[in-house]
């Protein structure tokens, strides 16, 4: 079942890549639709970020002093100013580890 859904997800992804290049007239997407599509990353990824930080493995809201909130704030600040993907991820992880293992 997992395999089948991976294959379907792969086909769906490939179609998104291929359809405008090979099959349909590119003018099919109006300017308005294109403008909205440009927001897709901002409209999708917070749905992974927010629950990944604020909701724990048991589906319960975390306390406001949870180390994940601290880690996320550090990552946002480092990412915003450094523009570096690795620095963003590692700074968040390390600050999270420092709190759970040292404090």
């Amino acid at each position: 079942m997992t395999w089948l859904s991976i294959i379907i997800a792969g086909i769906v992804t490939y179609f998104m890549r291929m359809i405008m290049v090979a099959l349909v007239d590119r003018d099919l997407l109006g300017e308005r639709v294109k403008a909205v599509l440009a927001y897709v990353p901002s409209a999708v990824f917070p749905a992974i970020i927010f629950p990944g930080i604020f909701i724990n493995d048991y589906g319960i809201f975390i306390e406001m002093n949870d180390p994940k909130i601290f880690g996320a704030i550090v990552a946002i600040l480092v990412g915003y100013f450094s523009r570096n993907v690795i620095a963003t991820i590692l700074s968040g992880l390390f600050s999270y580890w420092i709190i759970i293992f040292l404090l």
Partner: protein
């Protein structure tokens, strides 16, 4: 006129700086798949079949959290719908290719390759072998993605659970969107999506992952209208 080989090489060089983010992202992607309890073969097969970092992580995370296959597949579709935009932009430059070549080259289009090749296309409209740039950029990214996810899968089997590597998932996506925090319209869309995802988190089949982007895109359309 540049030769095919020259353009191909330019494509490779154009994405080279992106390796600093693509390779660690691939490693994280492979390691997280293992951490979430999936088999190494399955995690690796996704790198070939889907070949899209963000959507691979989301897919595995949703399934491991008990989402239905339909929701997981739909969310991959929503995340990768941005490729419709890339395709629409690229089609202008790939028009002269045969249908088969169009089918093949489409597989290689990913974010970084699109960004770099599109820049090259805009400046070199009159070159005959433009698509070789996309082959160079996309091909390089493909090879690096395969190697780095494999490395992550191997590393992931050694990472102890206490480290809480799952927290790398939201951090990875923070790294992807953090630069857009500079734009107010994007911030509004992000907050809408994030708050909706918390609000609808308990909706059946993990459908928050579809509901919140739809609400956020609706807000994006409103924001666009207000901007005019």
């Amino acid at each position: 006129m540049l030769s095919k080989k020259q353009i191909f090489t330019k494509g490779i060089l154009a994405v080279a700086p992106h390796m600093f983010s693509v390779i660690p992202f691939g490693v994280v992607c492979g390691a997280i798949g293992i951490e979430l309890g999936f088999s190494p073969i399955l995690v690796y097969a996704m790198s070939i079949i889907i070949f899209g970092g963000a959507s691979q992580i989301v897919f595995l995370q949703l399934l491991s959290g008990g989402a239905s296959a339909l929701i997981a597949v739909t969310s991959v579709g929503v995340i990768n719908s941005r490729h419709l935009l890339y395709g629409a932009v690229l089609s202008e430059y790939l028009e002269k290719l045969s249908f088969i070549k169009k089918l093949l080259i489409s597989y290689l289009v990913v974010d970084q390759g699109f960004a770099e090749s599109n820049k090259f296309f805009q400046k070199n409209r009159n070159e005959t072998h433009l698509h070789y740039h996309l082959l160079g950029s996309g091909g390089t990214l493909w090879v690096c993605w395969q190697i780095s996810t494999l490395a992550g899968i191997i590393l992931g089997s050694f990472v102890p659970e206490e480290l809480g590597l799952k927290f790398a998932v939201p951090l990875t996506f923070i790294a992807i969107v953090v630069q857009d925090l500079k734009k107010l319209d994007h911030v509004i869309v992000m907050i809408t999506c994030g708050l909706s995802s918390l609000l609808f988190f308990d909706a059946p089949f993990k459908s928050y992952i579809i509901i919140s982007p739809i609400i956020a895109l609706f807000v994006a359309a409103l924001v666009l209208r207000l901007k005019k």
